[in-house]
Protein backbone atom coordinates (compact mmCIF):
# COMPACT_ATOMS: atom_id res chain seq x y z
CA UNK A 1 0.00 0.00 0.00
CA UNK A 2 1.85 3.03 -1.24
CA UNK A 3 -0.89 5.52 -0.28
CA UNK A 4 -0.48 4.78 3.42
CA UNK A 5 -0.48 7.97 5.39
CA UNK A 6 0.52 6.75 8.84
CA UNK A 7 3.31 4.31 9.57
CA UNK A 8 5.12 3.14 12.67
CA UNK A 9 8.15 5.03 11.44
CA UNK A 10 6.08 8.21 11.40
CA UNK A 11 4.02 8.04 14.59
CA UNK A 12 5.14 4.93 16.52
CA UNK A 13 7.68 6.64 18.74
CA UNK A 14 5.40 9.53 19.69
CA UNK A 15 2.48 7.21 20.39
CA UNK A 16 4.66 5.10 22.63
CA UNK A 17 6.10 8.10 24.42
CA UNK A 18 2.67 9.53 25.17
CA UNK A 19 1.20 6.25 26.42
CA UNK A 20 4.24 5.44 28.53
CA UNK A 21 3.88 8.77 30.23
CA UNK A 22 0.13 8.50 30.86
CA UNK A 23 -0.52 4.85 31.72
CA UNK A 24 1.70 4.64 34.84
CA UNK A 25 0.10 7.81 36.22
CA UNK A 26 -3.31 6.17 35.79
CA UNK A 27 -2.11 3.17 37.76
CA UNK A 28 -3.21 0.71 35.07
CA UNK A 29 -1.05 -2.30 34.52
CA UNK A 30 -1.14 -2.98 30.78
CA UNK A 31 1.29 -3.53 27.97
CA UNK A 32 0.77 -2.43 24.40
CA UNK A 33 2.05 -3.29 21.00
CA UNK A 34 1.93 -1.10 17.90
CA UNK A 35 1.44 -2.90 14.60
CA UNK A 36 0.91 -1.79 11.04
CA UNK A 37 -1.79 -2.36 8.49
CA UNK A 38 -3.80 -5.47 9.32
CA UNK A 39 -7.20 -5.83 7.71
CA UNK A 40 -9.43 -5.44 10.72
CA UNK A 41 -12.68 -5.83 8.88
CA UNK A 42 -12.55 -5.59 5.10
CA UNK A 43 -14.64 -2.70 3.82
CA UNK A 44 -15.33 -1.36 7.29
CA UNK A 45 -12.29 -0.42 9.26
CA UNK A 46 -8.85 -0.79 7.79
CA UNK A 47 -6.66 1.09 10.17
CA UNK A 48 -3.10 1.68 9.12
CA UNK A 49 -1.91 1.53 12.71
CA UNK A 50 -3.23 -0.64 15.49
CA UNK A 51 -2.33 -0.28 19.15
CA UNK A 52 -3.17 -3.49 20.97
CA UNK A 53 -3.34 -3.62 24.75
CA UNK A 54 -2.87 -6.70 26.87
CA UNK A 55 -2.22 -7.55 30.48
CA UNK A 56 -3.80 -7.53 33.90
CA UNK A 57 -5.85 -4.33 33.77
CA UNK A 58 -7.36 -4.70 30.28
CA UNK A 59 -10.85 -4.98 31.84
CA UNK A 60 -10.42 -1.43 33.20
CA UNK A 61 -9.93 -0.19 29.65
CA UNK A 62 -12.99 -2.03 28.35
CA UNK A 63 -15.48 -1.15 31.07
CA UNK A 64 -18.52 0.89 30.10
CA UNK A 65 -18.30 0.32 26.32
CA UNK A 66 -14.52 0.64 26.33
CA UNK A 67 -14.73 4.29 27.34
CA UNK A 68 -11.20 4.40 28.75
CA UNK A 69 -9.73 2.72 25.66
CA UNK A 70 -11.56 5.19 23.41
CA UNK A 71 -10.54 8.16 25.57
CA UNK A 72 -6.90 7.06 25.36
CA UNK A 73 -7.23 6.73 21.61
CA UNK A 74 -8.77 10.16 21.22
CA UNK A 75 -6.20 11.89 23.47
CA UNK A 76 -3.29 10.14 21.75
CA UNK A 77 -4.50 11.31 18.36
CA UNK A 78 -5.06 14.85 19.59
CA UNK A 79 -1.60 14.89 21.20
CA UNK A 80 -0.10 13.69 17.91
CA UNK A 81 -2.05 16.38 16.00
CA UNK A 82 -3.73 13.82 13.78
CA UNK A 83 -6.63 15.59 12.07
CA UNK A 84 -10.11 14.36 12.90
CA UNK A 85 -10.81 12.98 9.41
CA UNK A 86 -7.87 10.60 9.83
CA UNK A 87 -8.93 9.21 13.20
CA UNK A 88 -10.26 5.98 11.67
CA UNK A 89 -6.79 5.22 10.31
CA UNK A 90 -5.62 4.40 13.82
CA UNK A 91 -7.33 1.91 16.08
CA UNK A 92 -6.76 1.07 19.73
CA UNK A 93 -7.94 -2.39 20.70
CA UNK A 94 -7.85 -4.98 23.47
CA UNK A 95 -9.21 -8.51 23.45
CA UNK A 96 -10.50 -7.83 19.91
CA UNK A 97 -13.19 -5.65 21.47
CA UNK A 98 -13.39 -3.29 18.48
CA UNK A 99 -13.61 -6.12 15.98
CA UNK A 100 -16.41 -7.81 17.90
CA UNK A 101 -18.20 -4.50 18.25
CA UNK A 102 -18.10 -4.02 14.46
CA UNK A 103 -19.67 -7.44 13.97
CA UNK A 104 -22.32 -6.63 16.56
CA UNK A 105 -23.14 -3.32 14.85
CA UNK A 106 -23.37 -4.97 11.43
CA UNK A 107 -25.76 -7.55 12.74
CA UNK A 108 -27.98 -5.05 14.50
CA UNK A 109 -27.99 -2.89 11.34
CA UNK A 110 -29.24 -5.78 9.25
CA UNK A 111 -31.84 -6.86 11.83
CA UNK A 112 -33.14 -3.30 12.13
CA UNK A 113 -33.22 -2.84 8.35
CA UNK A 114 -35.30 -5.99 7.92
CA UNK A 115 -37.70 -4.75 10.55
CA UNK A 116 -38.04 -1.38 8.82
CA UNK A 117 -38.57 -3.07 5.47
CA UNK A 118 -41.31 -5.32 6.84
CA UNK A 119 -43.07 -2.82 9.12
CA UNK A 120 -42.59 0.25 6.86
CA UNK A 121 -41.79 2.26 9.98
CA UNK A 122 -38.54 4.06 10.77
CA UNK A 123 -36.15 2.74 13.40
CA UNK A 124 -33.94 4.92 15.59
CA UNK A 125 -30.70 3.61 17.05
CA UNK A 126 -29.31 4.82 20.34
CA UNK A 127 -26.70 7.59 20.02
CA UNK A 128 -23.33 6.44 18.72
CA UNK A 129 -20.05 8.09 17.89
CA UNK A 130 -19.23 8.88 14.27
CA UNK A 131 -17.15 5.76 13.71
CA UNK A 132 -19.94 3.50 14.87
CA UNK A 133 -22.52 5.38 12.81
CA UNK A 134 -20.29 4.95 9.80
CA UNK A 135 -20.29 1.19 10.33
CA UNK A 136 -24.10 1.13 10.34
CA UNK A 137 -24.27 3.18 7.11
CA UNK A 138 -21.69 0.95 5.46
CA UNK A 139 -23.49 -2.21 6.54
CA UNK A 140 -26.66 -0.97 4.81
CA UNK A 141 -25.16 0.54 1.67
CA UNK A 142 -26.41 -2.33 -0.54
CA UNK A 143 -29.73 -2.73 1.23
CA UNK A 144 -32.12 -1.27 -1.37
CA UNK A 145 -35.40 -1.23 0.58
CA UNK A 146 -34.20 1.15 3.30
CA UNK A 147 -32.18 4.33 3.72
CA UNK A 148 -30.02 5.27 6.72
CA UNK A 149 -29.37 8.78 7.95
CA UNK A 150 -27.71 10.37 10.96
CA UNK A 151 -29.64 12.97 12.88
CA UNK A 152 -29.48 14.95 16.10
CA UNK A 153 -26.42 16.59 17.59
CA UNK A 154 -23.22 15.31 19.14
CA UNK A 155 -22.80 13.58 21.49
CA UNK A 156 -26.41 12.40 21.07
CA UNK A 157 -26.31 11.99 17.30
CA UNK A 158 -27.92 8.76 16.16
CA UNK A 159 -28.68 6.73 13.06
CA UNK A 160 -32.25 6.40 11.78
CA UNK A 161 -33.31 3.83 9.21
CA UNK A 162 -36.25 4.81 6.97
CA UNK A 163 -38.18 2.71 4.51
CA UNK A 164 -37.19 3.64 0.95
CA UNK A 165 -39.06 6.76 -0.16
CA UNK A 166 -40.24 7.89 3.29
CA UNK A 167 -39.23 11.52 3.99
CA UNK A 168 -36.93 12.23 6.96
CA UNK A 169 -38.58 13.09 10.26
CA UNK A 170 -35.92 14.66 12.44
CA UNK A 171 -36.73 14.04 16.08
CA UNK A 172 -35.20 16.98 17.89
CA UNK A 173 -34.28 20.63 17.66
CA UNK A 174 -30.66 21.74 18.05
CA UNK A 175 -29.48 22.24 21.64
CA UNK A 176 -28.54 25.76 22.85
CA UNK A 177 -24.96 26.83 22.18
CA UNK A 178 -22.64 25.35 24.69
CA UNK A 179 -19.12 25.80 25.83
CA UNK A 180 -16.72 23.69 23.85
CA UNK A 181 -18.20 24.24 20.41
CA UNK A 182 -15.26 26.04 18.99
Amino acid sequence: MSQRKYTIAKIGARTEEFLKRILPLMGVNVRFEITEGEELHPGFENPEIRVKFSGHDVPDLLENKAEVLLALEHLTMEALRIPFEDHSRICFDANDHRMLRIEELRQSAVTAAERVRDSKRPFRFNPMNSRERRIIHLALRDFKEVRSESEGFEPRRNVVIYPEGMPSQPASAPPPMRRGRR
Binding site: L25, A71, L75, G180
Partner: protein, 85 residues
Protein backbone atom coordinates in the same frame (compact mmCIF):
# COMPACT_ATOMS: atom_id res chain seq x y z
CA UNK B 1 0.77 7.65 52.44
CA UNK B 2 -0.33 5.66 49.44
CA UNK B 3 -3.31 7.97 49.03
CA UNK B 4 -1.08 11.05 49.02
CA UNK B 5 1.09 9.55 46.31
CA UNK B 6 -2.06 8.82 44.36
CA UNK B 7 -3.22 12.43 44.55
CA UNK B 8 0.11 13.73 43.34
CA UNK B 9 -0.05 11.37 40.42
CA UNK B 10 -3.52 12.49 39.46
CA UNK B 11 -2.29 16.07 39.30
CA UNK B 12 0.69 14.91 37.24
CA UNK B 13 -1.64 12.92 34.99
CA UNK B 14 -3.69 15.98 34.10
CA UNK B 15 -0.56 18.04 33.65
CA UNK B 16 1.05 15.50 31.31
CA UNK B 17 -2.07 15.13 29.18
CA UNK B 18 -2.59 18.90 28.97
CA UNK B 19 1.05 19.55 28.08
CA UNK B 20 0.85 17.00 25.29
CA UNK B 21 -2.28 18.66 23.86
CA UNK B 22 -1.34 22.33 23.87
CA UNK B 23 1.02 24.49 21.83
CA UNK B 24 2.44 26.30 24.87
CA UNK B 25 3.17 23.64 27.53
CA UNK B 26 4.98 26.16 29.76
CA UNK B 27 1.65 27.83 30.45
CA UNK B 28 -0.09 24.71 31.72
CA UNK B 29 -0.94 25.02 35.40
CA UNK B 30 -2.81 22.38 37.39
CA UNK B 31 -3.94 23.22 40.89
CA UNK B 32 -5.38 20.67 43.26
CA UNK B 33 -8.02 21.59 45.81
CA UNK B 34 -8.84 18.82 48.22
CA UNK B 35 -12.28 18.59 49.66
CA UNK B 36 -13.67 15.96 51.96
CA UNK B 37 -15.45 13.99 49.26
CA UNK B 38 -14.05 15.35 46.07
CA UNK B 39 -10.72 16.63 44.88
CA UNK B 40 -11.03 19.43 42.37
CA UNK B 41 -8.33 19.81 39.77
CA UNK B 42 -8.17 23.21 38.15
CA UNK B 43 -6.56 23.28 34.75
CA UNK B 44 -5.34 26.54 33.30
CA UNK B 45 -3.82 26.85 29.85
CA UNK B 46 -2.90 29.72 27.53
CA UNK B 47 -6.11 31.30 26.14
CA UNK B 48 -5.07 30.28 22.62
CA UNK B 49 -4.82 26.65 23.79
CA UNK B 50 -8.26 26.45 25.39
CA UNK B 51 -9.78 24.84 22.28
CA UNK B 52 -7.06 22.18 22.31
CA UNK B 53 -7.98 20.91 25.78
CA UNK B 54 -11.72 21.18 25.17
CA UNK B 55 -11.90 19.83 21.64
CA UNK B 56 -14.76 19.63 19.16
CA UNK B 57 -18.07 19.31 21.00
CA UNK B 58 -16.03 19.04 24.18
CA UNK B 59 -14.78 15.62 23.24
CA UNK B 60 -11.20 16.13 24.40
CA UNK B 61 -12.28 17.47 27.78
CA UNK B 62 -14.66 14.52 28.09
CA UNK B 63 -11.82 12.10 27.34
CA UNK B 64 -9.61 13.70 30.00
CA UNK B 65 -12.48 13.38 32.51
CA UNK B 66 -12.94 9.73 31.58
CA UNK B 67 -9.29 8.97 32.39
CA UNK B 68 -9.56 11.00 35.57
CA UNK B 69 -12.65 9.06 36.62
CA UNK B 70 -11.02 5.70 35.95
CA UNK B 71 -7.94 6.73 37.92
CA UNK B 72 -10.11 7.97 40.77
CA UNK B 73 -11.86 4.61 40.95
CA UNK B 74 -8.51 2.95 41.56
CA UNK B 75 -7.77 5.42 44.34
CA UNK B 76 -11.27 5.29 45.80
CA UNK B 77 -11.60 8.99 45.43
CA UNK B 78 -13.72 11.30 43.33
CA UNK B 79 -12.03 13.93 41.21
CA UNK B 80 -13.54 16.67 39.14
CA UNK B 81 -11.78 18.65 36.47
CA UNK B 82 -12.42 22.37 36.08
CA UNK B 83 -11.02 23.95 32.96
CA UNK B 84 -10.56 27.63 33.74
CA UNK B 85 -11.41 30.10 31.02
Amino acid sequence: MAATTGMMEVRALIEEIAKALVDIPEEVIVREIQGEQVTVLELKVAPSDLGKVIGKQGRTARSIRTLLGATGMKLNRRFTLEILE
